[in-house]
Symmetry: C2
Subunit: 391 residues, 2 copies
C-alpha cells in the first residue's frame, strides 16, 4: 500500500502557458482584468457570513439583470446546461407533458433532457434561422397541454433573437409555465422577466457578463415555485433540488442555512464583479450598445458581399451573428486562417447550422466598433487568402 | 420594453472586499497564491487545442493522484456532490439494487441520490465514528445483490478513515461495482485505485488539492465502463452522461470531440496547477506529511485533555480531525471565539455529528506543524475564555 505504481506525469513539470486571444466566438468571451483579479481573491468558506453577503449581492444583481422581483433568484454551480437541467428537473415530474420550441440546437437539448426524466415531450419545429408565431405556439399549447413550454431567446446556433411578448400570457392561459433560455442574449438584448410573464429564466456567466464559465444565474416566478414546491416526487437530482438551493441562497425565508454543496467561491467573486460592471453601465445602455455595434457589424458584412443567415432584421441576435458560409470556401479553412493570423476566434455552426454558417460573438466588453473593424479586416483577408473553388 | 422597472442595486456599488482567513475547517482549504494566479490567466475556448492539452495534463495528474491507469479519467464541472451524482446516475438504472455504507452523512446522501432515480436502496449502518468489517459487507452484498456498493474513504463528518483492502474483491465476487468517495482523504491518505479494485472513485478540488471549489476529479474502471456503456436507458442527466463527458475529455478514443458543455476554463487552470504541486512533492511524501502532522496534532489535543472522537487510532482521518465537543461548553461559542480572535476557521459537526464534535481540517498546504501549533493555542485560549458550565 505504501508504494505507488503510477509515476508523476512529465507533462506536469511544464509550467502553464496560456496565450492571449480575441474570443469572438459564441462564448466564452474575453474576461477583463478587473473580473480575473476579483476571482483571484483568497478563498472563504461556503458558509461564512461574508460569502452569504456576496451571494446576496449576486442575487440583487441578477434581479436587476433579469428585471425581476422574484425572491427565488440565485446562481447555480455549473453552466447554462446545468441551469437548463435545473429548470426541467424541478418543474417537471415523470409522465407530465412538456413542449419545446426547436429552431436550433437548444430546443432539441431541452427535449432530450425532459425525455430522460420520463416526461412526455412534444416539439414545434421551425427551420434553423426561423421563429414561431403566437398562433403556432397557441395551437401547440392547446393540443399538447404541457406543464412547461421551453423557448430560446437568443439561439446561438442560428443567430436568432426570438420575440417574447405575449407568449407568457398564452402559456398562463393554458396553465403552463414559460421557460426561457437567455444564455446568449441576456444583457445584450432587451428582456424583462416579470413584464413578459416568464416563469423560469436562466443565463450563463461566460457570455455578455464576461465572467469565466462555471456559474449560471437563474430565477423562478411565484407561479413556478407554486408548482415546484407542491411536487409529488423528489426531483431526480439532489444537487439541483430547488428546495435545497433555495435555502443555501437564503431565498426560502428560513432563519438559518443548511449546508447543501460547496459553492464555487472564486467564481462567485468574479460573477459579482461582472454584475457590478453591468450595473455601472446600466442595462439599457448595454442593450443599446449591443444593438448599435451589431447593426454596424451587419452593415459591414453586407458591404463586403457577405450574407446574413437570419433574413428578418428584427430577429437578428445582437450578441452572436450568423453569416452564411461564403460559397466556394471551406469554412474550416477560414476560421483556421483567422485564428492563425490574428489569434482571433470566430467559429463555424453548431448542431443544425454546421456547415451553413460562420458565427461571430461580440458580447459584453467585446461589443465595440473597434472589434467589429478587426473582425471585418480578418474576414476580408481570409477570403483573399483561403482557397476558393469555382462555384 | 425599453424602460427598466428594477433599478441597479446599491450594494453593487461597493467594491469586493475579501478578508484573509486561516481555512482550517473541513474544506474549502486555503488556496496558495501560485494556484490563485494560475486561475487568473486569460480565458481560452472550451474547444481550443490548448485547453484539450490542459485537460490531458489534468487527466494524467488525476491518474497519478488516484494511482490508476484507467483511460476513463476526467474532472467534472461541479463539486464532490456532482461527482457522487455522476457516479450513481451512470452506473445505476431504475429498479436496480444499490447498497450504501452509512457511518456519517455521505452514505445517507448517496442513498438519497440513488432513491431519487428509482433504485432499490439498502444500507448498512455503523454508529458515527465507526467502520464496517469485511464480514458485515459480504453479508449485505450476498443478501441484497447490489449492482453498486458505496463507501466513504474519508468520512469528513465523523473523522473516520475507512480501510479499503479486500472490499473491491468482495464486490467483484458478487458482480457489484465498488464506488468510493475520497473527497476529504484523497492525496492525504494512502489509496491506490487499481490495486484496491475500486471501480469508481472521485474527489473534490478544494480539499488536499488546495484549488478553489468547482471541479471534481473522477475515474471509472473498465468494469464500470462495461456496465455503463451497456445501459438500456439513458442516464437521467445529459450534463453528467458519461458517454458525452468521455468524448469531451478525449477518453473514448474517437478522433474528434463534440461540444458537450462549456468547461470551467479558469478552474481547469487552477486544478492543473494544484496537480503540478502534488506531483512535485510526490504522492507518498504527501501521505507521509499528512500522517505525521495529524499524529502531532492528535498528541497535542490529548495532552491538553481533549478527546478524539474516533477511538481506533488507525481509523483516524489524517486530513480532518474530529474532537469530542469539550463537556460543559457550547461548541458554537468556541468556534466563534476562534474565528473572532484568530480569523481562523474550525467547525462544528455535520449531519449525525452535529453537537458531538469540533472539526479541524489541515489539508494540502495547510498540513504543517506550525499550523497545528496555531490551532492548539487557539483552542487553549478558547477553553480559557469561553463560558463553562459545571458539568
Amino acid at each position: 500500500m505504501s508504494s505507488t505504481a503510477v509515476a508523476p506525469p512529465a507533462c506536469l513539470r511544464r509550467p502553464l502557458v496560456v496565450p492571449r486571444r480575441f474570443m469572438f466566438g459564441p462564448g466564452p468571451s474575453n474576461v477583463p482584468p478587473r473580473i480575473l483579479e476579483a476571482g483571484a481573491n483568497p478563498i472563504l468558506g461556503h458558509m461564512h457570513p461574508e460569502i452569504f453577503e456576496i451571494m446576496s449581492d449576486i442575487k440583487s444583481g441578477i434581479q436587476y439583470l433579469f428585471q425581476t422581483k422574484n425572491s427565488m433568484t440565485l446562481a447555480l454551480t455549473g453552466t447554462g446546461h446545468t441551469a437548463m437541467e435545473c429548470a426541467i428537473f424541478n418543474a417537471v415530474e415523470a409522465g407530465e407533458s412538456v413542449l419545446t420550441a426547436v429552431n436550433g440546437i437548444w430546443g432539441e437539448r431541452a427535449a432530450d433532457m425532459a425525455e430522460r426524466i420520463g416526461a412526455r415531450v412534444n416539439t414545434i419545429v421551425a427551420p434553423p434561422g426561423g421563429c414561431f408565431s403566437l398562433e403556432e405556439i397557441e395551437k401547440a399549447l392547446s393540443k399538447h397541454r404541457p406543464v412547461l413550454f421551453f423557448l430560446t431567446h437568443g439561439e446561438s446556433s442560428t443567430g436568432v433573437l426570438h420575440p417574447l411578448d405575449g407568449i407568457g400570457d398564452l402559456c398562463h392561459k393554458y396553465n403552463c409555465l414559460f421557460l426561457v433560455d437567455s444564455v446568449a442574449s441576456m444583457g445584450g438584448a432587451p428582456l424583462c422577466m416579470d413584464k413578459q410573464g416568464i416563469d423560469i429564466l436562466y443565463t450563463g456567466s461566460q457570455k455578455v457578463l464576461n465572467a469565466p464559465p462555471g456559474t449560471a444565474p437563474i430565477s423562478f416566478s411565484d407561479r413556478a415555485c407554486q408548482k415546484i414546491f407542491n411536487r409529488k416526487t423528489k426531483p431526480v437530482s439532489f444537487f439541483l433540488d430547488l428546495s435545497w438551493l433555495a435555502n443555501y441562497w437564503g431565498c426560502d425565508g428560513k432563519p438559518s442555512r443548511v449546508y447543501h454543496h460547496t459553492g464555487p467561491i472564486s467564481a462567485f467573486y468574479s460573477l459579482r464583479e461582472s454584475l457590478c460592471i453591468l450595473a455601472e453601465e446600466g442595462l439599457e445602455n448595454s442593450w443599446e450598445r449591443h444593438r448599435k455595434v451589431a447593426e454596424y457589424f451587419h452593415d459591414g458584412l453586407e458591404n463586403m458581399g457577405l450574407k446574413l443567415f437570419v433574413t428578418e432584421k428584427s430577429a437578428r441576435l445582437p450578441t452572436v451573428t450568423t453569416i452564411v458560409a461564403p460559397p466556394g470556401y471551406d469554412w474550416k479553412e477560414i476560421t483556421a486562417y483567422i485564428m492563425k493570423t490574428y489569434n482571433l476566434e470566430i467559429s463555424g455552426g453548431l448542431g443544425p447550422s454546421v456547415g451553413l454558417v460562420l458565427r461571430v460573438g461580440l458580447m459584453g466588453c467585446n461589443s465595440s466598433k473597434a472589434n467589429v473593424d478587426m473582425v471585418l479586416t480578418a474576414l476580408k483577408n481570409a477570403l483573399k487568402h483561403c482557397h476558393k473553388s469555382r462555384v
